[in-house]
């Protein structure tokens, strides 16, 4: 990956065609296109998809935006469905029903609802069994397709439609689940956490590694949702940068059990810088709520230190 060039990879043929019905500025399609750019030309793929915004907007009968074979089954079973597809590939290869020189890769996409929550069991099963596939979570931290309800990926104090801020509520009361660590603890081949950086190198490198590492691989991609997070849509890259620079969303990978930090900010920015850009955290900046921000900061610090420890130890 030494000779990565954004310009070069952007010139590859798109595998998610334009004309789908996702919102302008949606993080999910940016994540999908970036992952698919890591597929080597000539390699075929079967794309899986949990029910969610991405599915209902990209394959609306009789139109599909997917250049590769694609399967949507239901909400909670993207892991199991693709494990069936991947096993069929093995069976057909073994029985000579597919030419030996045909290579297929298996990539499935789910939002945090389909991945952290309702699809968690199916994902855990597929990862534990070690299917040769990549599960990609586009994590926008709430159930956006049904209208911004909290998920276990929603950060503490976020204002969502099922954790609304009110006289007696400061928003969501729990911290978010650390899914990348949980999947890493399944002893899978490769896990990485990433988001959109200015040159997309981090995402591209990790996607390529996940696709071309044998065994079960998991990518957790922070993919902001302008509607759910309530920021100015064109500011998506700034939001992602602040998530990384505040260590809210650290970039790391776990390659066959070895933890490595992909990026360490020179100067860790205060969490307010990330929060203040987003309408879902607006209430935290009301006078008297300074303590809530301090708690948020303490949780970010705790997780960052824990990650640094794991990476320093290497496993």
């Amino acid at each position: 990956m030494g000779n990565y060039s954004l310009k070069e990879v952007m010139n590859k043929p798109e595998r998610l065609a334009p004309g789908h019905r996702m919102c302008a500025g949606c993080g999910a399609t940016i994540a999908v296109r970036a992952v698919l750019r890591a597929l080597h030309e000539g390699d075929r793929a079967v794309i899986g998809n949990a029910t969610g915004c991405l599915e209902v907007s990209s394959y609306m009968y009789p139109y599909t935006a997917w250049e590769d074979s694609y399967i949507h089954n239901a909400f909670e079973n993207a892991g199991a469905t693709l494990s069936g597809v991947e096993t069929a590939y093995k069976a057909l290869k073994k029985r000579g029903r597919l030419p030996q020189d045909e290579t297929y890769k298996f990539i499935t996409f789910g939002g945090d609802g389909g991945t952290y929550d309702i699809g968690f069991q199916s994902l855990s099963g597929a990862m534990e069994r070690g299917h040769d596939m990549v599960y990609v979570c586009y994590d926008n931290g709430a159930y956006m397709n049904t209208g911004i309800q909290r998920s276990s990926a929603t950060p503490m104090y976020a204002d969502t439609t099922t954790t609304p801020v009110g006289k007696k509520s400061d928003g969501k009361m729990q911290n978010r689940k650390d899914l990348a660590s949980i999947i890493a603890d399944h002893d899978v081949a490769y896990v990485a956490q990433t988001t959109f950086t200015s040159d997309f190198k981090d995402l591209h490198t990790k996607a390529e590694k996940a696709i071309y590492t044998e065994g079960a691989c998991f990518l957790n991609i922070m993919a902001p949702c302008p509607r759910g997070w309530r920021y100015d849509t064109p500011e998506i890259m700034k939001i992602c940068k602040l998530a990384v620079e505040t260590c809210y969303w650290p970039l790391f990978e776990v390659d066959h059990g070895k933890w490595t930090l992909s990026y360490e900010p020179k100067k860790k920015l205060p969490i307010e810088d990330f929060l203040k850009e987003q309408g879902r955290f607006k209430h935290l900046f009301k006078p008297g709520n300074e303590g809530l921000i301090a708690q948020f900061q303490a949780e970010v610090d705790r997780r960052w230190e824990d990650l640094q420890y794991k990476c320093a130890r290497g496993n």
Partner: protein, 393 residues
């Protein structure tokens, strides 16, 4: 040459699966179907078949993976019972609506609660409107024979629907009986290779499966699925004819036993047909004009054919091994009486619920039921149209 052996129903179905050697089998254990994935795994471990087995973490995932494998171009199947089938429910609908011709060995067991591992048909009947073809067996021989006919029916170009091959938990699945098996090469030739037209792993011809469909299109998809289910009736009969040529055993939508001149007929599904036939055999010796219809194909429902078969009798006892909690009878009771009405057959039709959660159903029960039917017809006795048999007093 037929191979004579002794086997349980689970062994018989596993033997059929070995002979068919499908591409992919995801499964999760549940009593009383657990032996099927165990036996298949053992065949694979011993090199007697080379199906890819996926030990999934739940039945929802077994059906999900089976759909994924089938969509990818592989012949797939699973096995389950009771709560396992209930957990799959959402996926049963998707298997049918995505037109996946996969097979399932269903070993019928009651649904919870209370939790109970024994036979009734509440699992299969709970899935009766999911779009699957459902074929029920009376004994291990039929379970074996039906499984061998499963893929030729499901994969037929006019059908493309999933198929459930059902047998009664423990009564059939675990009881060992004599059986006639076909030779491996005969089965392989009969079932043939799976050659889908469109599938995910078709190089250069990608497809998309499982669309969001707006109102403009979704209704036609549902109608097409319904047409396919109707089409399956002729295909089931055609495949049965072909099967008779290799086995000498003939199958239809249902089996009639001494019904030709019968005034009173008992209509039922599954292993209890054996009990009913024994009782009819005994009663015929006393000159009683009684008969049995054993329904083999529940989906598609042969309403017209059943109405014709019942047209000349005086009364029918419709036996449901399932309560459907509609306050009006069991599923078979509801469907048969609707069928009689639609085809203008006006006879006494009493719906009995029996054998729930493994409750015994005896020859004496059959005598009593026929007695009640004749009392109603000949003496004008008022009979409850929906009642239980064999309850503790």
């Amino acid at each position: 040459m037929a191979i004579k052996d002794r086997m349980s129903g689970n062994e018989a179905v596993s033997y059929a699966i070995r002979q068919i050697n499908p591409d992919v089998m995801p499964a999760f254990p549940i009593t009383p179907s657990t032996e099927i994935p165990q036996m298949v795994s053992t065949y694979i471990a011993n090199g007697e078949m080379d199906t890819e087995f996926i030990p999934v973490e739940s039945e929802h995932s077994s059906m999900s993976a089976a759909i994924g494998a089938q969509a990818a171009g592989a012949r797939s199947l699973t096995a389950t019972s009771s709560a396992g089938l209930a957990l799959m429910w959402e996926e049963l609908l998707l298997a049918a609506s995505n037109r996946m011709p996969l097979a399932m060995a269903l070993v019928n067991r009651t649904l919870s609660g209370p939790i109970n591992i024994n036979c009734d048909h509440s699992d299969g009947m709970g899935a009766r409107d999911t779009g699957w073809i459902q074929i029920y067996a009376e004994n291990n021989q039929e379970a074996y024979d039906n499984f061998i006919q499963a893929y030729p029916i499901a994969e037929h170009e006019n059908v493309h629907l999933p198929i459930m091959i059902c047998q009664d938990g423990f009564i059939t699945s675990h009881a060992v009986e004599n059986i006639k098996l076909l030779e491996d090469h005969v089965v392989k030739e009969f079932v043939g290779e799976y050659r889908p037209e469109e599938y995910l792993l078709n190089p250069g011809k990608p497809i998309a499966v499982g669309p969001y469909s707006v109102t403009n299109y979704a209704m036609e998809a549902k109608k097409n699925q319904e047409i396919a289910l109707e089409n399956s009736k002729a295909v089931i009969l055609e495949v049965a004819k072909r099967f008779e040529r290799i086995s000498g055993r003939s199958y239809g939508l249902f089996e009639e036993y001494k019904t030709e001149d019968a005034d009173y007929i008992m209509l039922l599904i599954g292993s209890a047909a054996g009990t009913a036939k024994q009782a009819v055999h005994n009663m015929r010796k006393e000159g009683k004009k009684v008969g049995v219809i054993k329904l083999r194909v529940f989906r598609p429902f042969p309403a017209k054919e059943l109405a014709e078969a019942l047209r000349n009798c005086k009364a029918v006892a419709i036996m449901d091994r399932c309560e459907s909690y509609n306050g009006n009878g069991g599923p078979l009771g509801s469907e048969v009486t609707a069928g009689l009405f639609r085809h203008k057959v006006s006879i006494e039709a009493v719906n009995y619920i029996y054998g729930l959660a493994g409750r015994d159903f005896t020859v004496e029960d059959v005598y009593d039921i026929f007695e009640e039917l004749s009392d109603a017809v000949e003496n004008g006795k008022e009979v409850e149209q929906y009642q239980y048999v064999g309850l503790r007093k």
